[in-house]
Symmetry: D2
Subunit: 346 residues, 4 copies
């Protein structure tokens, strides 16, 4: 029997509808670098979904290059970006932000989230410190939604963050590498809401059914006025830019982006409930497509014979934290099989 | 009648065999970041083609990110890279090299090529200058093959460059964004020869029939020992790395990479000869898939009604230089149609 | 009566012997950029004091430029530097390290010091993490001696740090902005000992009696082989380099560097004991020339009428932490006057 | 007899009046980082001399750090700075500008100067090029006054540069490392005129009689709004900032800055005329304190036995270009002695 894979949500290619569209358009000749009509249509669809006719939108290939380009494009030379200590830009991007010359200023993460009160205190303390001109000015606030732990900010929390950012003149940037899963899990927050709250955010494609691609949205359209040379300088301007346009046009036609995410959430919920029912406690209470459990090493070792998934941090002595991730193609029977494998172990 | 497009060689998607392979493997689940078996097989095929069993190979998405990552990965902080003034890294990458902190040191380009004698003089003068420690040390030599003007170094020239680079302890880096066309046009120089001569080079996919992708080859395997964090830091580590592996596996199976280039060269030669026969003189004598002609503006204006192609530099008063590019899918009838359109103009 | 100043140790010019030497040599003509004989003699004196005939030594103007140049000169592109979260490079250098492209990786500070066990765990966890190639590799360990809180590592602690650094192939770098005070306060550790333990360190002049200037020492002489272009690139190569040579020659003649520090320590100890005797508890138990006390705001406000000193962090509601700093010119009567001012307040 | 030195203008310490003032103020205690009263007074004097009450002024230690800080502080991420190919930032600063991430865009130098027509053409061609968003945008124009060859722009040329800079929205930055000599040699252009023409410039101290120090002037006061963190980040914020204030206060009291320069110009003119009278032709017709002559190697070799001066570029086969530099302390007899030494050779 084939091994089940729950390592991550970018193990497959793309959703079949995307592949089909890429196939169908393959022989067409279009101008490069995102000046084609597919890209234009994709932007239009996203602007509509965001309720932001003024939004400026551009596409890049992956999350790290998107974060580095956006953050570098916004910050002035003496500024840094605030993030949770568990934030992707602080931990898992090989120092891509620092490589552009900017410090990542960390706040303690709470299940991956920054606390609005702690954020406000950080800003207040900064400007109250007599030596603040010798310190890195916080010029941007970075959050991920969902976070690296699959958790979600509430609407109230996002509004609080927005208020503080505005007060201290620091734009709010939301990393939506897995945005679809967040939107599917929390109906309070959709793209229109995000467009009201964030100064800039990106809609992740790579981890939500595309071959690759992330769509940066600047709802009010003011930030990063000269984006093309900036993106080019960061090595992030795709020659055959239409590949990004075609994918996002497909994702935002007939609600595909949402459907992809919903399947993953449904499956993740079945997995989570199945684990809880069997007596395992979640390491973190995630409502999205990443599920974290602390399992006995004995269970992990046996389960890894028939299913793959990742350690989250170093292996412990008796038990360890592991992560299971679902995607658009995970089937109900995959979860059932996994759970039955667990039953056979115990 | 549909307009003909000779703007560039990245206007279509990918060669059908590549699309087919991407389609066929789409639902498989593989580990990310190039640790999959397709990528492994692609590396093996390239190593064989290069006759370099020790070669280290890694894949990136586009040319600018490849240049920035490789050059930054090799140079020490105080070093710069020598290039022709017309070199892609000096002109058309929005300062991506400087953004990593390194100066591009220019030599005059001769139809896009640097002259070995001028290179040797540059190094000699540099180390003879009493103030050289206040100047940027030339730590790498960058050439493009074919050049930005479609021209090619001879084997003798490449060997001379190699000797000088060795003498002055500066690796030789060959930008092969359009390498296939160079290999198809000059049988003296194949991947084995390049692997003997260059310290590092890349095999371009984006402009030679792939959807995207460039394969960096370090024949002796010593340079850039820690490539993964470097690539990640540059935002150039593709999550679904197998997309690159699959494409290069396909390109290096049954000589596809060569066949793609050969068609483009055949078509470009037909175009060139047709133009010459009609009394137009090439702006530069290019043996590859880019052809440059100085045409009367009147001819350009009329021709652009039925065919697209690019100005090379600013439009002149009476006549201008324009570029025609062919690719794997250009057909004999496309060239014939273009030439007959010219006939109708004159 | 003139106000007393305990704000910091760089409020005056230079020790009179230094001024005298600068005055006496003023009209001499010497070659620039540190190629003069004064600089040569200063290097010789420092090499002797360090017992390191092979040591490479170079001089820069200030601490931040020294830290940025040294750290940038040692790290490879993908590496970062470990420091205590309270470390000067992490807090008070306006992101100078990140501006060179490198992340500061923080460990919790314990009265300004990093704990060897926590350092070892950091390295171990790093290399045990499956995703470490996506994280910033710790390529250097930075400590300050004395720390920003005036505290000192014991010889045992330094040896433990050295062992760990060696084990994980990361050089140990000691920021000695106030090194003199540390040497004067702890006889176990002198320049010979530091030259055994550290891979690179600097002897601070600016805060220890010079007009300005820091002397970087690489005891084994291997690191940073091309220092001149690196220093020049960082804007840190003083044209009249002999100004640094003359100052350090003077500081290391007849033990002036030590004498300067000893006076400051003696005065700081009198101040500390005087405060303790009056019932105030040190915020941190510092053996060097910086003394930190938590005082009632009422006392602070009154005392600031006749003496100046700095808040350490934001002002509290009832009481605040303040810092008193002594230097080579602080006199016994200055301390007595300060203490009597306190007596008059209470 | 002591050897005469004409190597450069930074071989001595400082003008005696500066040394005296440093000596007299040495024991005073002032706050750090340029917040002292000496610095405030120096700024006031410079503002008056510039006729720019709104001018923002800050001081740094040396030319390279000043250029890097100012240029980095003005440019946006995707922009570069235009300079003559012979410009100091392009040749002799070890890539300090590129190290901050910005390209130096070169125009051909004409005796060290850029030609206004060529500048205008550069801008025009840039914005007329269809691919300009893939190229480095010229965001600043750098000139040196005097140039590296001692030459001077005329008022008409400066006004032309200003007009073009304004038209293309690129500030004009004047590197005044040797500004005093330029002001003394051309009465058309004084600090008031420069304050009208330039968006930012610096008044060099290091090469004009100070121990060290350069004063950046932003006449209209808008550029680089957050200068302190920027300067700190570049390692260029002097702890004992008053050392810079004291020196510039002295230089701008009773016209000392001008007097220093005038002596150098008088001596340089004597030297120049003496050489010409003896049949040597200037390599470049410099009106300032640097004089360039092409001399037979035999003359150079003999003259170097009794006087020191620098080769300008590599030594030729029969003759070579050499540079003689005068300063505030060069005496009439020094020139006479040099000329008589030449007479003895011939």
């Amino acid at each position: 029997m084939a091994k089940l894979h729950f390592d991550t949500d970018y193990m497959r290619g793309a959703h079949p509808l995307i592949m089909e569209k890429l196939f169908k358009t393959n022989l067409e000749q279009t101008p490069g670098y995102g000046t084609d009509e597919y890209t234009e249509r994709a932007k239009k669809l996203i602007r509509e979904e965001c309720g932001s006719p003024e939004a400026r939108i551009f596409f890049m290939v992956g999350g790290t290059q998107t974060n580095a380009t956006v953050i570098d494009g916004i910050l002035r030379h003496h500024q840094g970006v605030i993030a949770a200590d568990s934030g992707h830009i602080n931990v898992h991007e090989s120092g891509a932000i620092e490589a552009t010359g900017h410090k990542v200023l960390t706040l303690p993460g709470h299940d991956g989230k920054i606390d609005p009160n702690e954020l406000e205190k950080y800003f207040t303390d900064f400007y109250n410190d007599d030596t603040y001109e010798h310190m890195v000015e916080p010029g941007l606030v970075y959050i991920s939604y969902p976070t690296e732990f699959g958790t979600l900010y509430s609407l109230k929390e996002l509004k609080a963050l927005k208020r503080i950012c505005k007060k201290f003149n620091a734009p709010l940037y939301l990393d939506g590498a897995r945005l679809g899963y967040g939107l599917a899990a929390n109906p309070d927050i959709n793209l229109k809401v995000l467009s009201e709250i964030c100064d800039v955010f990106y809609i992740g494609g790579t981890k939500v059914g595309a071959l690759f691609g992330e769509a940066v949205v600047i709802p009010k359209g003011k930030l990063i006025p000269r984006s093309i040379p900036l993106i080019k300088q960061h090595g992030a301007l795709l020659a055959k830019g239409r590949l990004l346009g075609i994918q996002f046009e497909t994702l935002f036609t007939d609600g595909l982006y949402t459907k992809i995410a919903e399947n993953a959430i449904t499956r993740a919920t079945e997995l989570k409930e199945g684990f809880i029912k069997r007596g395992f406690r979640p390491f973190i209470d995630s409502p999205t497509n990443q599920q974290f459990f602390n399992l006995p090493n004995k269970v992990i070792d046996r389960l890894m014979e028939t299913a793959s998934f990742e350690y989250w941090g170093p292996r412990g002595r008796e038990s360890s934290t592991v992560r299971f991730v679902t995607d658009w193609a995970t089937e109900k029977t995959d979860i059932e099989t996994l759970l039955s494998q667990i039953d056979q172990i115990s």
